[in-house]
Symmetry: none
Subunit: 406 residues, 2 copies
């Protein structure tokens, strides 16, 4: 069910400001049965006070049992059905690297591989080189291959054996098959066009693979490339048009800035390194009057979870708690706090578990939930929502949705 | 996801009688944080006793954040996906007015407007005339314009500047654009046909606008008409065919009688004025043996909510509580009590909040919910349902659904 045609008809103006705070990967698990989750272990006096006067609920970001990547998890929170609005692998990498990636471009993920003199794949990851080694070889490729035919070729280091190629030129479709044979002892596959509009891209990808092999023939390990995930930059409908929102994004990491830009948010500059808490708060305050929706992202809860660092994640929750009074001082009319997915330190990875959702807004019902934790959220009056259902709820509490049907 | 093909295959006969009681707009909000909702404030000894031996749950009538009109809210409770089964604006008005409205007719909502001698809109609502003034002018139009070409034209007063036109004739499509220019200083728009089947209707609507201007040229204010929401009478599948139900509707207000008729319920006569509690109970008792499904509607909870009359709404809940023993004396096998949407007195309007659902039936699980209130419903064993999901649940508890798949 695509709700966009309905929402396009129903949105109206309102003075109310909406602030959506995403603590990346905030949902957790106890380290052992009966123990606390990261949120339960954290000392969060400010958040506790807020939770007591808010409504809570559980939010399944994408679908029960599905572990969301950053793309689907965030798109759902932005109100975009993550099964309908799909960002290809190459495009996601381009967003994650903050690459210059434009409509009409095609992005491909590359792996450096080791090929035999006969052209057979000996190692699909070229012996897992260091990221520095990758950067050295990428610099050689940039120098040697600025274009194929009339198509610009832009190389970016990702990490270890992974790199990114952005192709820029006229008439590039992204229906191109992967060239990774998925096992050693075989030559790389010839890329195939999946549609007529992608014939040129396909030819360029195959020529590119050949040129890379020529240029890197003196490299002992990084002497070939395998490509996958060819994708253009998606042209999604924008939050201004669908929801009637003038929206700003405040995030440090390129992936989240890129995802917000895809849906038409204005991405604000943030000063400072890393998660840049002060820089984010500064951006929020300075721009408070200019927008009616803010997406504010914090990354470190996820990063600590991915590291398996339970107490580090607890500490990040507590750091957020310390920032909360400054955020609340802005008096957002509608404040939502949630995660784009769970990242339990126990699993050292994203997981499929629901995340708590906190909503402070006019016209809430009372509930008995007293903390922003997984367990308390189950008792909340918001019930159990899907990620994609959050945005209409925020719009409703902001007075931005007309009645559906007479 | 359309469940109708599945339900058509699965329904079977049963002796069990289902009674669906809809307290219109029953969900509420506290007047101030920490206070009771209308349902919580009401003294309802009979309902409390029933709730203690029933299962409860929360029901989101249409979608989180969406405020349902009466049409979508009711169609969902009747088991009809409100995004798939849409009743156009003109058709809903025709149902609401109890107009003679037949398949093949096209209904349009009209606004009386004030036009300048040059034909420019000076006031899109003709100075908001009284409903009596509207009726006087509608009587003139009835007299003067019985038909356009071979198409019958039927005028109805709605209220203030609003009226309804029902067109009846051969070959009338409803793909006709609105003629309201949405601002003053412009002439009314020419209606445009959205499809070939609506060319005749479009011509008739444009001729009608011209004729109305001629007839009313001596009126100082109500001298023009703007049209919108052209819609035919929807031909929905019927509850008998989809669910295997012989269903009766007991409601006083034309809108609800009309919606029930659209889905194939037999609409029973109800004696008495207004909400006619005694007349409804009489109709229920007299016809108890003739049907296996009853929809019983009470309107005043919504009306008091729309008036912003918190204690009036409380009183309507208590009036319903007093009726309850007589309803229970009929011993319905499956009794559901819910609302089609919330209408918190605080908001003086429909709202998007979920409504409580009470189910008394065989084969329920125990729960701890002890009152028919928003807060208790959160703790109920039925969990959190969508409106459209209710009907299959009622059929199941009535023993009317076979196993899905082997």
């Amino acid at each position: 069910m695509d709700l966009f045609p309905v929402l396009r008809e129903l949105h109206q103006k309102s003075e109310a400001k909406i602030l959506l705070v995403v603590l990346d990967g905030v949902g957790g698990l106890p380290l052992e049965p009966g123990g606390p989750t990261e949120l339960e272990a954290a000392k969060t006096p400010n958040l506790d006070r807020l939770a007591a006067e808010s409504a809570l609920g559980l939010l399944t970001p994408v679908h029960p049992g599905l572990t969301p990547g950053s793309g689907p998890g965030h798109l759902a929170l932005f109100g975009y059905d993550p099964f309908r609005y799909v960002v290809g692998r190459g495009a996601l990498s381009a967003l994650g690297l903050g690459a210059d990636f434009r409509e009409g471009d095609v992005a491909l993920r590359g792996n450096f591989a080791t090929l035999s003199p006969e052209g057979v794949v000996l190692d699909r990851r070229a012996g897992r080189p260091s990221t520095e080694e990758n950067a050295r070889v990428v610099a050689r490729l940039r120098e040697a291959i600025p274009r194929i035919e009339d198509v610009e070729v832009h190389f970016y280091t990702e990490s270890e054996h992974r790199f990114l190629v952005v192709l820029r030129g006229e008439g590039l479709g992204d229906g191109v098959t992967d060239t990774d044979p998925q096992k050693t002892g075989l030559p790389p596959l010839e890329a195939q066009a999946l549609d007529g509009a992608s014939a040129k891209t396909t030819r360029v990808v195959n020529l590119l693979a050949e040129r890379i092999r020529q240029v890197l023939r003196d490299e002992p390990k990084l002497n070939g490339a395998l490509f996958r995930g060819a994708s253009g930059k998606p042209a999604f409908p924008k939050v201004g048009e669908v929801f009637g929102l003038k929206a700003a994004a405040i995030a440090s990491y390129p992936m989240y800035r890129g995802l917000a830009a895809l849906v038409g948010m204005e991405v604000l500059p943030v000063e400072g390194e890393g998660d840049a808490h002060e820089g984010k708060l500064g951006a929020l305050k300075e721009n408070w009057e200019r927008f009616d929706f803010f997406y504010l992202h914090f990354k470190k809860t996820d990063a600590k979870g991915e590291d398996g660092d339970f107490w580090g994640k607890v500490g990040e929750v507590e750091r957020f708690d310390a920032l909360l009074p400054e955020i609340l001082a802005l008096k957002p009319d509608v404040l939502a706090l949630t995660g784009d997915h769970s990242t339990p330190a126990l699993l050292r990875a994203h997981s499929w578990h629901p995340v708590p959702l906190l909503l402070k807004a006019p016209h809430l019902r009372e509930d008995e939930a007293r903390r922003f934790t997984e367990g308390e959220a189950q008792r909340g009056s918001l019930g159990h929502l899907r990620g994609v259902e959050l945005m209409p709820l925020l719009l409703a509490h902001a007075g931005r949705l007309l009645k559906y049907g007479a």
